[in-house]
Point group: C2
Chain length 364, copies 2
C-alpha cells in the first residue's frame, strides 16, 4: 500500500474502507448495498443519524447548533453563504489568506453585485505571496458587517491559523475544509463553519455545515428552498436525497476517529507529524525552504521548496520509488506539498522525513 | 437477496457493485481506493472520462452538447436552471404534471420573484390529481419564453410522457431524473436535460446534465461561478472536486448497461416489465386500481391501489414475506408503487405479478 499524501480526496483510514468492503453487497444483513437503500428507510436513517451524532460528539458541537450534510463542496458554500446572509444593502467582510479564501471572496463579490450588497476585503496577505495568515489587528473591519468570512487553513499555500482568530463582533463564518475535525475548536466563537469531507473525514461529495440556529434563522427566506440552510436544518439534511454512500463512509471514518481517541488524540498526532517535517526543514534550511512564515505553518499541508524545479522533480521521483504519492505541490504554486490529514500514518511521515534527510545528504 | 423495488436510491446491477467491492481497497493496481485518488490524477480522470464517454455513447448525445457531472440532485437544478436562464425581465413556461415538476415550478417562481423575472404555469394536471400528463395542445405557451420546463416522468404519481412532447419553439428543458437512460431519446429536441443518478444509473450524489453549447452560452455570466453551467462545461466537470466515488460507481453501472446491449435492449426490457404489471391490473381491475390514465402510465414507476389502506398494508406485508421491498407508495399519496428501473430484474417483476394474482385470488 502506498503512503498517500494527497491533498484531497485523500487517504482514508483502512478500517473505514474495510468495513465498507465487507458489507458493500449486504448492508446490516439486508442483502442489498447501503447505496440501494432508500434515504427515507430506517436502515439508512440509522447511518445518517449516527454520522450526525458522531460529528456532534467528536467536534463538541454546542447546543443550539445544527449539523447539516450537504452536497457541492466548499465551493458551493462560497456562493450559498452570501446568498443566505448577504441581503441587498448589507455588507460582509472577507479575510483573504490564500487561494481558497480568495475564491470565496470572488464568489461573494459576484453575488453582492447581483443583489446590490457589498463585500469588503477586510484583510489580505496576497502581498506576502500568501505566506502568512492575517492577524485580527490588521483587519479593517466593518462593525456592521453581516458576517466576517475567513479560511482557517489554506490547502494550496500551506498557511493555517494555529490559534483561531476573532475578527470583531460580527458573526464569524469559517471555511474549515482542509482541517475539519483535525483538532479541537471552540465552535461557540463561530456562527457557521463548513468543510468538504474529502480531507479528513470521508470521500468527496459530502459537505458538512455547522451553524447556530440563530444565524440560520437570519437567512433570506425568499431564495429557492434548496439553497436555504433553514430548509436543510428543518429536514435534518433529508430535504432531498443526500449522498447516502458518502455519508455512510463518513460515518465509518468518524467511528474510526472515535476509536482512536477523538480529537484530542488526533490533534496531538497531527501536530507531531507536522513538527517532524518542519524540524527536518529547519535543520536542513540550506536545502529545504518553507515559503510559509513560521507562525502560520500549516499542520495539515506542509509545503516546501528545493533549490530548483529540477531538484524538486528528482525528489518527487525518489519519493514515488519509495511508494510515497501525492507530494507534488498544487499546479498554481509548484514545489512539494505533504498533506498530513487524520488518516496519514505517523510512520509514513517518518519515512518521508528520512527520505528528506537522505536526499539532502546525497544532493546537498 | 431481496427484490428491491425502491423508488430511488434504488437497485443497482450486481455486477457494478461486485466490481466496486473487488477493487474497493486497491483501485487499478494502485494499492489505494478510488476514493483516495486525487480528482486531478490520471487514475481518477480515466474513470471520469470513461463515464462521460459512456453517457455520450449510450444516450447518443449529439455533437454540440455537453455532458456535466454535478452535485445536489435534481433539486438543485430546479434552482440553477432559472438562475442561469431566467434573467430579469424574462419569462419561462412550466408544465406541471406531478410533485416534482410542481417543486421545479415553485423553485423557479422563488427565483423569478427575486430577480423580477416571470414564471408562467403554462399547463397543469393538478385538477386531475396528477393522473395524466399535459398535452402540448392544452399548454398556454408564451412564444417568447426563455425556456419551457417539464418532467418526463413523475416518480410519485407514476405518470410519464410515453411519447416525448414538444412545447412550441422555445428551448426545451426536461427533468428526466426518474427515467434517465432507461430508453432512447432524441436529445436534439432539448436544450437541457438533467437527472439524479440514483434511479437508473448510479448511487445518489451525482447529477448528470446534458445541454447544448448554444444554450449554455446564453446563461447569466454574473452568477457566482459554481452556479454557472458554463464554468462546469469549461472545466469538464472538474471545476471543483466532484463526487469521485459516485462517478466511479456510475461508470460501473454504465459499463454494465453497455454490456446488456445499451438503451434499445433495456428499453424493451423495461416496457415488458411494466406491461406485465399493468396487464395484471387490467385483468383484475376489480381488485387493483391504477389511478393513472392509460396513456400516461409510467414504465418506471407503476402505482396502484387496493380496496382499502388495510388491504394495502396486508399486501405490503405479504410482499415483504416474499422478499420484495420498497413497494410502499410515497407518503404523500399512499398506495403501492413498484419502481422498475434498469437494474430491476424481469424475474422480480414476474414474481410480483404472481403475488398480485395470488393475493387477489385469496382476498378478492
Amino acid at each position: 500500500m502506498p503512503m498517500n499524501f494527497n491533498a484531497g480526496p485523500a487517504s482514508l483510514p483502512l478500517a473505514a474502507l474495510e468495513r465498507a468492503k465487507t458489507e458493500l453487497l449486504d448492508f446490516a444483513g439486508t442483502g442489498i448495498s447501503v447505496m440501494e437503500h432508500s434515504h427515507r428507510g430506517k436502515e439508512y436513517e440509522a447511518v445518517h443519524d449516527e454520522a450526525m451524532s458522531l460529528v456532534r460528539e467528536l467536534f463538541a458541537v454546542p447546543r443550539g447548533y445544527e449539523v447539516l450534510f450537504l452536497q457541492g463542496g466548499a465551493s458551493l458554500e462560497f456562493a450559498t453563504v452570501p446568498m443566505n446572509f448577504l441581503p441587498p444593502g448589507a455588507s460582509a467582510d472577507y479575510i483573504v489568506t490564500g487561494a481558497w479564501s480568495e475564491k470565496a471572496h470572488a464568489e461573494a463579490s459576484a453575488w453582492a453585485a447581483m443583489v446590490r450588497a457589498s463585500v469588503r476585503l477586510a484583510a489580505s496577505t496576497k502581498d506576502s505571496g500568501y505566506t502568512r495568515v492575517a492577524l485580527a489587528e490588521e483587519a479593517r473591519l466593518d462593525e456592521n458587517a453581516a458576517f466576517v468570512h475567513f479560511a482557517s487553513n489554506e490547502t494550496i499555500h500551506g498557511v493555517q491559523y494555529l490559534e483561531l482568530p476573532r475578527f470583531g463582533n460580527a458573526p464569524l463564518v469559517c471555511d474549515m475544509s482542509s482541517e475539519f475535525l483535525s483538532r479541537k475548536v471552540d465552535l461557540r466563537a463561530f456562527s457557521l463553519v463548513y468543510g468538504g469531507a474529502q480531507k479528513n473525514i470521508g470521500p468527496s461529495g459530502v459537505t458538512v455545515v455547522i451553524a447556530s440556529n440563530d444565524f440560520i434563522a437570519r437567512g433570506r427566506q425568499d431564495l429557492p428552498t434548496i439553497l436555504q440552510y433553514r430548509a436543510h436544518a428543518k429536514a435534518k439534511s433529508l430535504l432531498n436525497t443526500p449522498s447516502t454512500f458518502g455519508i455512510y463512509l463518513m460515518r465509518n471514518v468518524l467511528a474510526w476517529l472515535k476509536g482512536e481517541g477523538g480529537l484530542a488524540t488526533i490533534e496531538a498526532r497531527n501536530r507531531a507529524k507536522a513538527a517532524e517535517l518542519y524540524a527536518v526543514m529547519d535543520a536542513l534550511s540550506g536545502f529545504y525552504r518553507s515559503p510559509v512564515q513560521r507562525a502560520s505553518r500549516s499542520v495539515m499541508n506542509v509545503v516546501f521548496r528545493l533549490s530548483s524545479e529540477d531538484m524538486e522533480k528528482r525528489f518527487l521521483a525518489e519519493a514515488a520509488q519509495n511508494a510515497m504519492i501525492g507530494l507534488k505541490g498544487h499546479r498554481s504554486v509548484g514545489g512539494i506539498r505533504a498533506s498530513l490529514y487524520n488518516a496519514v500514518e505517523p510512520d509514513w511521515v517518518s519515512a518521508l522525513a528520512s527520505l528528506m534527510k537522505e536526499f539532502a545528504r546525497r544532493n546537498g
